[in-house]
């Protein structure tokens, strides 16, 4: 199935999604990698607000290449999501609804996805030029000192993504290979 979604999203909008479905995502997506996640945790520990409205939000684990003059963004594919595992459950419990990256997540993240009716979507790893083509605007909103790891506010149109973890416990990294191997029998 293919779904078109616009951020911020609600739990009800994510409920029909199943591992393996395609999502074309539009609206605002915030970028954050390891260093930005660490700083977000420090903010929360001090009882301060996150640098973006977290309810129904989408975080994209990406550190784009620098944009050429006149261009909106450089190359912008996903980084390995597992490095964000220590931080993600806390953000999901606060209302973050969509994680975008690539690669396997741990059990705590899977449980937080189900608990909160969230989703984990895969962008195409190593396809930075293709992913960048969906970005309509870019603005660094904080922690500019982190360079490629600074938090950016991206406006995207039809960003092509694949559902990996759904709110019902589905995991494409487990079911996809299994189904393929079953097809050979």
């Amino acid at each position: 199935m293919e779904y078109r979604l616009t951020t911020p999203v609600t739990r009800a909008e994510l409920a029909p999604l199943r591992a393996g479905d395609t999502v074309l995502l539009s609206g605002i997506v915030y970028t954050a990698r390891d260093a930005a996640h660490q700083r977000m945790m420090e903010l929360l520990d001090r009882g301060e607000d996150l640098p973006f409205p977290v309810e129904g939000s989408a975080l994209y684990y990406v550190g784009p290449t620098p944009e050429r003059p006149g261009e909106i963004i450089g190359s912008a594919g996903p980084t390995t999501s597992g490095r964000m595992d220590p931080y993600s459950p806390r953000l999901l419990d606060l209302g973050q609804a969509i994680m975008i990256g690539k690669g396997a997540r741990n059990q705590a993240v899977k449980e937080a996805v189900v608990r909160n009716g969230a989703v984990y979507l895969a962008a195409l790893g190593g396809a930075g030029a293709l992913m960048a083509a969906s970005v309509r605007s870019l603005e660094v909103i904080c922690w500019e000192d982190l360079g490629c790891e600074a938090v950016r506010r991206l406006e995207v149109h039809d960003l092509p993504l694949t559902v990996v973890l759904d709110a019902h416990g589905g995991d494409l990294y487990e079911s996809g290979p299994r189904r393929y191997l079953e097809s050979l029998r």
Binding site: S75, G125, G128, G147, R178
Partner: protein, 279 residues
């Protein structure tokens, strides 16, 4: 004695950094296309098609194929009758600085592994120098992304583990990596040598074009065998399932100690980049 000015090395390295990051080597692009044709699983076939769309778009728009423009691994085969006029290593670092700056490539290097402050210009390069007879100077730049680098493994096996032990370790490395290293991957496998040498062999093996098997039929057979076993795991492109988990396996070996069987697997992704020039 031939003299090569360090400035020429700088210009060459800068050009190769940009070229490697925006255009995939012909053999890797060809392997992707061929594997797409042979892929029986629809989602995997579609995914491989998108990876090729990405290559076309990167080339058309002069964008890096992947946003992780990597650590600049620079291999130099230097003729022993060549005199470099200027600072050899400095010239290479300067080439990386220039290439990553002018090419709008991402700067991904931190100067200290624990204190982690970005050097801001992607230096230093990881330089491997080999002295060879003659007056030549061959430079290869291989920008290496860390999504795949992080999935690499090394083991000091026992001689009794033999070829089966090596195979098990390589296949297990791919299984453990799952979707993380952006499959379909390319594997450089080092066998033999010492603890440090075997890792260098694995990295160097990634320089071999995918359409060139090992010159020794025994190891060429082992490469084919490993590729077959890996592509029976079902991980598939991006880990979504399918046949195409790996595009190629290249083995390099070295003599080793009677008591040891070191093996190293350097995992690379479907964006296995390299660009070379002869000075």
């Amino acid at each position: 004695m031939r003299t090569i000015p360090a400035t020429l090395m700088t210009e060459t390295v800068a050009r190769l950094c940009v070229q490697a990051n925006t255009r995939l080597p012909q053999d890797v692009a060809a392997a992707l296309a061929r594997r797409q044709g042979e892929e029986p699983w629809p989602l995997a076939r579609d995914t491989l098609a998108l990876l090729q769309d990405n290559l076309a778009l990167a080339s058309h728009r002069d964008l890096p194929v992947c946003q992780d423009t990597g650590m600049a691994c620079v291999f130099v085969e230097l003729g022993q009758d060549v005199h470099i006029e200027g600072d050899f290593e400095g010239a290479i670092h300067q080439g990386v600085r220039q290439g990553y700056g002018e090419g709008y490539l991402r700067k991904s290097i931190v100067g200290d592994p624990l204190r982690r402050v970005n050097t801001g210009d992607n230096t230093p390069a990881a330089i491997t120098l080999r002295l060879v007879p003659g007056e030549g100077c061959a430079i290869t730049v291989m920008p290496k992304g860390f999504g795949s680098e992080n999935m690499s493994r090394l083991a000091m096996l026992k001689p009794a583990d033999g070829v089966e032990g090596v195979k098990q370790f390589v296949v297990e490395t791919v299984r453990l990596a799952g979707p993380n290293p952006c499959p379909p991957t390319v594997l450089g496998v080092g066998i033999g040598g010492s603890f440090d040498k075997v890792a260098a062999l694995a990295k160097h093996a990634l320089l071999r074009p995918l359409d060139t098997p090992h010159p020794d039929p025994f190891y060429a057979g082992l490469e084919r065998n490993l590729l077959e076993e890996i592509n029976a795991l079902g991980i598939g492109p991006q880990g979504f399932g399918g046949r195409t988990t790996c595009l190629g396996v290249a083995i390099e070996t070295a003599p080793t100690h009677v008591a040891g069987l070191p093996v190293a697997v350097n995992v690379s992704c479907h964006v296995t980049r390299r660009a070379s020039a002869e000075l």
